[in-house]
């Protein structure tokens, strides 16, 4: 079981008092928050009007994907950086711990053989459909990662970090790299036109560039989630 935080003995009383005060403050805060939510009349629509007025230009029909990949693509770019940093953080914690996975059973193996191909097809479908309907890189990446986790538990997942460390690292960073590279590449001015800013896709290519970024992001998300699930960097050799 987890150990309690070690406090120097004398501070315990003060900590209880502080905790009590903080608890009261939190209650007051939530009451205020509730009042604020009740009192405020939500601004109907928000930015929906702006999104709908400009969605034609993006070449996408799904407004959520348009916001994620185009209007607020910079957010999504940084979010992939967050995932990258999370893997770095997990790997920086050193020694792998004994994994908490159940022992593989024949049923699990069968399930993986059935589910894995379906997952890959389904992920591809989600990625493609994301342009027009609900779906997209995150959903597709999560589906792939789910299949990967199952395969990992069944002991059937080839360990990329040990077999192909360079490729594994490339793929882990692929999502943010695609964003970065494509975002910078579109800045090159076409003849006779003013320079574009970062992530400002040309109208004609926009849809395809977004699909490329989404594909890269899907792969990176799936592998990142799997790496986070593993909880440590697989060790190549023993020192």
């Amino acid at each position: 079981m987890q150990t309690e935080r070690k406090d120097p003995g004398g501070k315990a009383g003060g900590q209880v008092f502080l905790g009590l005060m903080l608890g009261l403050a939190a209650l007051a805060l939530v009451a205020l928050l509730g009042a604020a939510v009740f009192m405020s009349e939500p601004e109907i629509g928000g930015l929906a009007g702006d999104v709908m007025a400009n969605i034609e230009t993006t070449g996408l029909a799904n407004p959520v994907t348009a916001v994620l990949l185009d209007f607020r693509g910079y957010d999504t770019f940084l979010e992939l950086v967050v995932m990258f940093v999370a893997v770095l953080g997990v790997w920086s914690l050193g020694r792998p711990l004994p994994p908490i996975v159940p022992a593989p059973t024949p049923v699990l193996g069968l399930a993986v053989r059935l589910i894995a191909p379906i997952s890959v097809v389904f992920a591809g479908y989600l990625l493609w459909i994301g342009a027009t309907e609900a779906g997209g890189a995150f959903q597709a990446g999560a589906v792939l990662a789910g299949a990967g986790v199952l395969a990992f538990c069944a002991g059937m997942m080839p360990d990329f970090e040990i077999r192909q460390p360079l490729l594994h690292r490339v793929l882990l960073a692929l999502g943010m790299t695609a964003f970065l590279a494509i975002g910078v590449m579109v800045m090159a001015a076409e003849p006779g036109q003013a320079a574009r800013t970062f992530l400002d896709y040309p109208d004609a290519l926009g849809k395809w560039l977004i699909l490329a970024i989404e594909t890269a992001a899907m792969i990176a998300i799936a592998l990142t989630l799997l790496a986070l699930f593993q909880g440590a960097r697989p060790q190549r050799r023993t020192f």
Binding site: L29, L33, P42, L47, V85, G89, F138, L228, F229
Partner: protein, 88 residues
């Protein structure tokens, strides 16, 4: 309704975080708080007239990915910290 439920979850998460407990409980409390915020955001997107605002939906997707990454890191860090304290 969603908004009120969101505020309630956020409050429960806050209390859970402030009550001293195990690391696992704290991480769960943080996630409950997060779900509360996402609920409020989704409630904001709802428009009785029909079309909903896509921006909060996109924010929630981004928020969930951030939350999942942070949670995974927190769990591994908690195990690492707990392991060394047990060994002491």
């Amino acid at each position: 309704m969603f908004a009120v439920a969101g505020v309630a979850l956020f409050g429960i998460g806050c209390m859970g975080l402030l009550r001293s407990g195990t690391d696992l409980r704290r991480i769960l409390a943080l996630n409950v708080m997060g779900v509360g915020v996402f609920n409020v955001l989704i409630a904001t997107a709802y428009d009785p007239a029909g079309a909903s605002d896509p921006v909060p939906h996109a924010l929630v997707i981004t928020g969930i990915v951030v939350a999942v990454s942070a949670t995974a890191f927190a769990l591994v860090l908690a195990r690492a910290a707990g392991r060394d304290e047990d060994a002491d």
